[in-house]
């Protein structure tokens, strides 16, 4: 095999999800009436902004060889905290700050801090106390959601302060600012993972933790940072969720965790750790969103979505195994 075909083949393998996304979009555009519109594509991006942000945090921890099941509940708690403070009806306290724009950084910092704290708690138990990330974050998944129920009393907060909601309404080149925030997050974290020592170390820790420890990399510190980041990013997802729904309900975001997992796996991240890139994850998120939109447009019952997502995850795992065999031939 000459180097050029080899390079081309490797490029396709590395970016397989993007090709799948393109393929799916083309097929839908041809066969589903009204699918091929800018508005539809904008909607695909817009609808996936919360899921996208959440998937970044999840992917970071999984690439580092661990697991964070708590992201969904953390997002809900952050959204509820923002909702209670800055909503004016329901259980909202309607806190007003002057000038009004001050509510944006304050609410954002609150959401990030709530998420970061829970992430630090998870990280501490997993890394220092050496407990299984699966169990620790499963526990967090449960108790954090419980906390949402406790502080809201099962009720909801509505009418988020307009200054914060502005991010969901104001559009730039056809997309609301919330979608741009998601895209910016993907760009920033993709660069961090691919271009900085921190990102490189996370990937290597996911690949062989012993080797990185022996090489003098501060494994524990890096892993705790990864958990804090996953929590804070989940907090950001919660902030976006509060904006999107203009408030917060006690069951906000239920089921997002599994979609995030699906997106991460479809995006080419291996649950064994050490493998996967964030651009791939974004393609996975968009792929899910594109399929949801197609199901809506075809007027299929929404219940089909779950079946299709499940099959897609299966397909992604099979494809991953297939990719491995091809790569082995290439080397």
């Amino acid at each position: 095999m000459n180097p050029r075909t080899r390079h081309a083949l490797e490029f396709v393998l590395d970016n397989l999800v993007w090709f799948m996304l393109l393929f799916v979009l083309v097929v839908f555009s041809i066969f589903i009436p009204n699918y091929f519109q800018l508005g539809i594509f904008a909607n695909i991006i817009e609808a996936s902004s919360v899921l996208g942000v959440m998937s970044i945090g999840l992917a970071l921890v999984i690439i580092a060889g661990h697991m964070d099941l708590s992201v969904e509940s953390v997002a809900a708690l952050s959204a509820m905290a923002v909702g209670i403070l800055f909503c004016s009806s329901g259980i909202g306290l309607g806190v007003q700050l002057h000038p009004e724009w001050l509510m944006v950084p304050v609410s954002l910092l609150l959401a990030l801090a709530v998420g970061g704290l829970i992430g630090a708690f998870n990280g501490y138990l997993v890394v220092r106390v050496k407990m299984s990330a699966f169990i620790i974050t499963l526990a967090s998944y449960i108790w954090v959601r419980g906390l949402v129920l406790v502080i809201s009393g099962g009720r909801s907060a509505q009418d988020l302060a307009p200054a914060i909601r502005w991010f969901g309404i104001q559009r730039l080149i056809g997309l609301p600012l919330t979608a741009w925030i998601t895209i910016a997050c993907f760009v920033v974290f993709s660069l961090i993972m691919a271009k900085t020592p921190f990102g490189r170390h996370l990937v290597m820790i996911g690949g062989n933790e012993t080797a990185t420890f022996r090489a003098g990399i501060r494994v524990n510190r890096n892993l705790i940072i990864a958990f804090v980041l996953a929590g804070a990013i989940a907090g950001l997802a919660g902030w976006l969720l509060a904006i999107r729904t203009s408030g917060a309900t006690a069951n906000l975001g239920v089921g997002l965790l599994f979609n995030a997992f699906a997106a991460v796996v479809i995006g080419g991240v291996s649950l064994k750790g050490g493998v996967g890139t964030l651009p791939g994850v974004y393609a996975g998120v968009l792929l899910l969103s594109a399929i949801n939109t197609a199901i809506n447009l075809m007027g299929l019952p929404a219940n089909f979505t779950q079946v299709i997502h499940g099959l897609l995850v299966l397909a992604a795992v099979l494809l991953d195994a297939f990719k491995q065999t091809i790569r082995q031939r290439l080397a």
């Binding site: 490189r200 690949g207 012993t210 990185t212 003098g216």
Partner: protein, 254 residues
């Protein structure tokens, strides 16, 4: 002779009630190659881990360059100038050759104050290091998982030759190498030692020890059973030291 590079003074290590090391004392000079021999379970790997910062000794002390020394982590040992090549390879197979070569010591340049990996600079260094050692690897950007066992070990060996430091610990470094690569590996060790770096090599193969070492230290049941210059001993004498003079004590439990 000038002061030794590393002195071990009655170093012990207990795992619960089990005494893995009962008091090890010996020293390594600059530019000296010491072969550490001993039967399985004699405590060689434990000793290497203690020097390399992977384990803390239960008691005893170490002097490195004449100063009290105790590495609490591999990072501390590395900072002091101690490089280690472990028996089970310490490579991350999910990243490429360059990333492995620079694991934890990446070359970066600042972009807006943020350290960014300088891939090109690293690739140049790796290319040069591998070429000068005569190691051929098709692409430095291939993930290590696609390389053969020999190629992987070559990367590890080239890595320590490149980083050097002051003391190099090699725990059975040639387990996966062919005849020609082993010969080259032994040459590398001599070359490293000639730069004034101390080398400790653990091996099971008597022939390798006699080929490369200046001095042979034998560990048996957690104590130093022999410490002799290579040219004053013979393989048979060393085997006797390893097994405990008579064959009666040479069983697996000893």
């Amino acid at each position: 002779m000038s002061e030794p590079l590393l002195v071990l003074d009655n170093v012990t290590k207990n795992y619960g009630a089990i005494e893995a090391l009962k008091g090890i004392s010996f020293s390594i000079g600059r530019g000296e190659v010491v072969a550490l021999l001993g039967d399985n379970g004699a405590g060689k790997s434990t000793l290497v881990k203690i020097i390399a910062g992977g384990l803390e000794p239960t008691s005893g002390r170490m002097l490195f360059e004449g100063k009290e020394f105790l590495a609490r982590s591999p990072a501390e040992a590395k900072a002091a100038g101690i490089e280690t090549v472990y028996q089970d390879l310490s490579l991350c197979t999910n990243v490429d050759v360059v990333a492995n070569f620079f694991m934890g010591r990446e070359i970066t340049r600042k972009v807006l104050g943020i350290p960014v990996l300088d891939e090109r600079a690293m690739e140049v260094v790796v290319e040069k290091a591998l070429a000068s050692a005569g190691t051929r690897i098709p692409s430095l950007r291939t993930n290590v998982e696609h390389l053969s066992g020999g190629q992987r070990q070559a990367i590890e060996l080239n890595r320590f030759v490149h980083w050097g430091g002051k003391l190099v610990l090699l725990d059975e470094p040639f387990a996966a190498l062919g005849v020609e690569q082993t010969r080259r590996g032994l040459d590398m060790i001599r070359q490293v030692a000639s730069q004034g770096i101390g080398v400790v090599i653990i091996t099971h193969i008597m022939q390798q020890a006699f080929q490369v070492a200046d001095r042979i230290v034998v560990i048996r049941q957690g104590v130093v059973a022999g410490d002799v210059a290579r040219n004053k001993t013979s393989p048979d004498a060393v085997i006797n030291m390893i097994t405990g003079e008579t064959l009666a004590g040479a069983g697996p439990g000893s």
